[in-house]
Amino acid sequence: MSTSLRNNQAVLLAGSAAILLLAGTALAFYWVPNAPLEGFRQRIFYYHVPIALTSYACFGWAAWKALRLLWTREQRYDLESYTAVHMGVIFGILTLVTGSIWARTSWGHWWVWGSRQLVLFLVLFLFYAAYFMLRYSVDPGPRRANLSAVYALFGVALIPVSFLAIRLAADLVHPVVFSHDVGNKLTASQFTTFLVCLAGMLTLAGTLYRNELTGKRVDARLRELREALE
C-alpha cells in the first residue's frame, strides 16, 4: 500500500475513534435516562463492558496473527501479534480499573471475587504478563516468534476455559454471585449508547495498534539503515 493511502487510512481511523468516543461519552452522560434500579453509577457500564470486549478482541487478533505466523513463517506477523497482545493488556488493565470502580459503587469495596468478569481479567492479566516475561528472556529471532505465537494461542484457549472455571469456582467458594449481565434488560437508548461506546473503543484500539505497529516498524527500518551506513 502506498504510504499516502496508509496515512489517509490512519487519519480516518483516528478521526472516527475520536468522534465515536466523544459521541458515546456524551450519550452516556447526558442522553440516556438513569437506569431505574442502579441510577447514575450505571454510567460506568458504558465504558467498562466495551473496554472488556475490546480487550478480548485484541487477544483474539493476537492469536489470529500468531496462527498466521506459524502457518506462513513470515516474521512480520510476530510484530503484529506482539503489538496486539500489548493492546489487549492495556485494555485489560483498564477493564480491571473501571471494574473495581464499578465494584466500589455497586458492592462497597474495591475488589469482589464474586464478579466473574473481573476475576477472569485478573487471570488473563497474569497470563499475558508472563507473555512479556517470555519474550524478554529469549533473543529476538524466529525461535522467539514461534514461542510467543504458541503462547498467544494458549491464551485464547484459556479465556473460555477460565470463564467456565470461575463460574464453577463461584459455586464452591461463595455461592452469592454478583453479576451484571448485559444482555436482556437494556432499553433501546441504553443499547445504542453501548454500541456507540463499543465502536469507539474498538476503533481507539485499532488506532493505537496501528500507531504502535508503525513505530516498531520504523525502529526496525532504522536499525537496518544504521547497519547499512556503518
Binding site: R73, Q75, D139, P140, G141, P142, R223, E227
Partner: protein, 196 residues
C-alpha cells in the same frame, strides 16, 4: 544436481549479525570445506544446513530428508548418564535402522569404543566422546554429512581413523566440513568457503 543451494543467506542473533549474504552451492558427492576464525559463524552455517536454525535473510535450499542428514556439532548430542549402547540404541530406533544391533556393534568396533560400550558417556575423555558423536552422526548412513570440527579432541589414532573414514565417505556422500586446519582435508575438498 545440487544438494545445498544458498543465495544471499544471512542469520542474525538478536542485534548480532553472524552471517550475511552467503552464496554457495554444494553438488551431490561434493566436499565443501568451511574455514574461518572463531565466531565467524561456521557452526551457525552447519546448523542452518541441518535445518536446526532458520535463515533470517536470503534463501537456503537443502535437498535432503531429515533421515538423510548426519550432523556432528561441538556438543556430542548424547546423554551423559547413558552408555554408548543405550545412546545409539535410542537413535537407532528413532532413525528406524534395520539390524540396529549389528550396525551399532560394527561402528563401536570401528571407532574403538567396543570395550567401553557399557560405561556411561560421562566418564569418557574428550576424544572418546568425539568418537561416540561420530558414531551417532554416521549411524544411519546419511547421504549428507555436516561435520563441525570433526578432528577436535581426537588423539593420534583417532585422527588417522577419521582420515580413512573421510576418505571412504568422500567417494559417494556429500560432505560439509567446518575446520580450523583446512590442509588436513585439503586434498579431498571440491570447494572451499572462507567466512570472514
Amino acid at each position: 544436481m545440487t544438494v545445498i543451494r544458498a543465495r544471499g543467506l544471512g542469520r542474525d542473533f538478536g542485534a548480532k549479525r553472524v552471517l550475511r549474504g552467503l552464496d554457495f552451492d554444494v553438488a551431490r558427492g561434493g566436499f565443501l570445506v568451511v574455514t574461518g576464525p572463531n565466531g565467524a559463524g561456521k557452526s551457525t552455517l552447519l546448523s542452518l544446513c541441518a535445518g536446526l536454525l532458520a535463515p533470517t535473510s536470503g534463501e537456503l535450499r537443502v535437498d535432503a530428508e531429515r533421515a538423510e542428514i548426519g550432523y556432528l556439532a561441538h556438543e556430542p548430542l548424547v546423554y551423559r548418564e547413558l552408555t554408548p549402547l543405550e545412546n545409539l540404541d535410542l537413535y537407532g530406533r528413532l532413525y528406524r535402522i534395520p539390524e540396529r544391533r549389528e550396525r551399532i556393534g560394527m561402528l563401536l568396533e570401528r571407532f574403538g569404543l567396543w570395550e567401553a560400550r557399557h560405561e556411561r558417556a560421562e566418564s569418557f575423555s574428550r576424544g572418546m566422546t568425539q568418537r561416540l558423536a561420530l558414531c551417532r552422526a554416521l549411524l544411519h548412513e546419511p547421504r549428507l554429512l555436516l561435520l563441525d570440527e570433526p578432528y577436535a579432541g581426537l588423539d593420534e589414532a583417532g585422527t588417522e581413523l577419521l582420515d580413512d573414514e573421510l576418505q571412504t565417505l568422500a567417494r559417494e556422500r556429500t560432505l560439509v566440513v567446518a575446520t580450523h586446519e583446512p590442509e588436513r582435508v585439503g586434498r579431498l575438498a571440491t570447494s572451499t568457503l572462507a567466512l570472514a
